[in-house]
Amino acid sequence: MTLSAFLFQAINGLSTASGLFFIAAGLSLIFGVTRIVNIAHGSLYMLGTYIAYSLAMKIGGAVGFWGGIVLTALIVGAIGALIEVVLLRRIYRAPELFQLLATFALVLVINDATLWLWGPEDLLGPRAPGLAGAVEIFGRRLPSYDLFLIVIAPAALIVLHFALAKTRFGRLMRAATQDREMVGALGVNQAVLFTSVFALGAMLAGLGGALQVAREPANLATDLAVIGDAFVVVVVGGMGSISGAYLAAIIIAEVKALCIAIGVVDLGFMSVNFSKFTLVAEFIVMAIVLIARPYGLLGKPQGNVRSVAEPENPIRPATPMLKMLGAVILVLLLALPLMAQTSPYLLVLGTDVLIAVIFATSLHFIMGPGGMHSFGHAAYFGLGAYGAALLMKLAGLPMLAALLAAPLVALIGALLFGWFAVRLSGVYLAMLTLAFAQIVWALVFQWEGFTGGSNGVIGVWPAAPFDKSGAYFLLALACAVAAILLLRRFLFAPFGYAMRAGRDSPLRAEAIGIDVKRIHWLGFAIAGCVCGIAGGLFAFAKGSISPEAISVTRSIDGLVMVLLGGIQTLVGPVVGASVYAVLQDTVMRQTEYWRALLGVIILVLVLAFPQGIAGALSSLTRKLGRKSGGAA
């Protein structure tokens, strides 16, 4: 590699940084004031590209292109305002987790709306009128539009900076970022402030997306790809800091460019292609920054926003009725292979449900009693699945041994990632876990030689006697029952109590000699380990494992299952996972727009049933019990 090639990549990196900056700046502004991490910000960016494309095509010429970009920013800003007024305003006081889920639901809805409006094809916009040419730099041709992008990001940074420093609106925003309750107490209309901040943030995302129209085709996968990058940038730069967002955008883009520039390096015993590790590199940068500076390079610790989540009831051992119910269900499940003679699909569905139950129960273990809202539980599912599949394929392990190894592989991963994750809390923990899951995903996706890349590992079939779906179902059932009972036992033991103690009041827990971080770390490891069983079972049930199966969507599925069942109850994840897995297999397969459907389900859940199914049922029975008790 020559120096000029290297410098060329560095300049290329700067133009990529510009798009990242716009979306990250918007995300950061919104978080600073409203304390909502808007996962749908990538979707607004994506909408920007699509709308700018349509405007440029419909109107045409320089007016259609440049005017279209400005108009797009305004339109996306208006969409942002609409979202804030219709949805977010209702959930500012909801627990963080619900806010994250609600904005994720928006991602799904917007994605399907885009699919419906523009269709599934990639749409490449026109060249930028006036900047269609290229300039020669270091012996290579760089599009002049890229140069324009390099200049516009710092220009926007300066404008934003002065707007924040000098205008009344800017001062209010900065004040609200520091202490929004005080701003409210001073008589500022918070509703208007929040709406305008959200609109401004959305506008920036729309602008960033629109500016990409001449560079990259509009694509339906942009939303999640971009939001991942934007999270990294915002976290590295520091939540709420615009300059931090710019600095971090440059660092991330340059690290990626560097990886590409380095290319293949021969290490003697093996050659490593660094250009394949751009995704991994980005998340490693984030992990390092979070560990060294938990609030980002230019961020400040955020003041606590008082949580208004209703505290949960003390846990009680299962009532005789619950035990009876469990036994009846178990007997029914044991008889399922007999009943399934006529419809073999029932067993496939049943196995899927059991895997989902293990997955959700293990996630609930750290989310509920541990209070750690992991947005990356798919990582341990993936480690288990790939661990089992690769050990069988490459190391020639027999099926049962590979299945036993799955939780161990996941345990190692969870011990490593958990050690970092428990040092953070709240949205930062959510993002770090998400980042770790993305590292795992990127590793299996980009390391083709070992993991099979996007094709995954195939031919992972169970050995006899488990090659029959009935026997495999019973194996999954045994694993699920063992996992549920074991985790339940742990929760009633001192360890589980200590986890809850650390969640309820870290101050008090430390004051009675509990090492909260250590307890939560071990809890994280146990959850990851059990989740690995689900991964292993999944690989053998499907006969293959691919990166798609361990993407961020699986992590989110897990969150929805736990919330659907009710995070504050111990049977919640079992109920939630069963209902959700059946829904997914039946209803959602019927429609092309299943994402939007899922999004709507999540929104209904968040707005109407914050306690989940099991939670709503138990509070209902308690109410009824109280009524009849009063009458008697």
């Binding site: 505290p311 051992p317 036992r489 033991a493 001192p494 109590y497 009041s505 004051a511 009675i512 307890i519």
Partner: protein, 254 residues
Amino acid sequence: MSVLSVRSLSKTFGGVHAVNEVSFDIGKGEFLALIGPNGAGKSTTFNMINGQLAPDAGDILIGDKSICGLAPRDIWRLGVGRTFQVAATFGSMTVVENVQMALISHAGRILSLWRPAASLYRERALELLAQVGMADAADRPSRELAYGDVKRIELAIALANDPQLLLMDEPTAGMAPRERNDLIKLVKTLVIERGISVLFTEHSMDVVFSYADRIIVLARGRLIADGDAAAIRDNAKVREVYFGTGKTFQEASS
């Protein structure tokens, strides 16, 4: 020998000397009040002793062991119990479970994964609750209790590891006068029975002058008086900080 010795303790926050060369001792069984106007450095001193903050200079000894740089949980293991200014209990547990957790931790069985926690040390926990007059509420969720009762639970928790020293940060903050008096009377009785030393900060002068064996006074980060109730009442400097302007004191000290 003193139970706790504080030696030339100092802490600055960005140029402000929050605590400046403060030294004092607590003898066995002593009920020592730490008072002073707002911003005097009481909380900072307190948080250094309980391990929440690391001192810039000076030393803190429990017996003859320095506890500077130890985490709160390690200090607790040395026999130091604590209650908080804003009472902190585990809201998702019952009252008795709250106390059981402290007992389980004291026995070093926190990492146990098998025996149900609710069955461990229940008798002992009930005894402790009876001592603070909360046995009837044992199986209620702790988050349902009135604030004054939560403070009593905290006291039971703090007594669980048989402490030789009890740190109480404004034990009666947020309580009605009647409750306030009852709680302090209770603490005093328990302390005398068990020979525990207590260091507490307090805003209510009624409480301080009726119950404290000895009083130390902080103002602007410095220790300005140390003595029994009568001595402190007559101390000119103390009167100055409480009744005079802050300005007068600054001139007097510089």
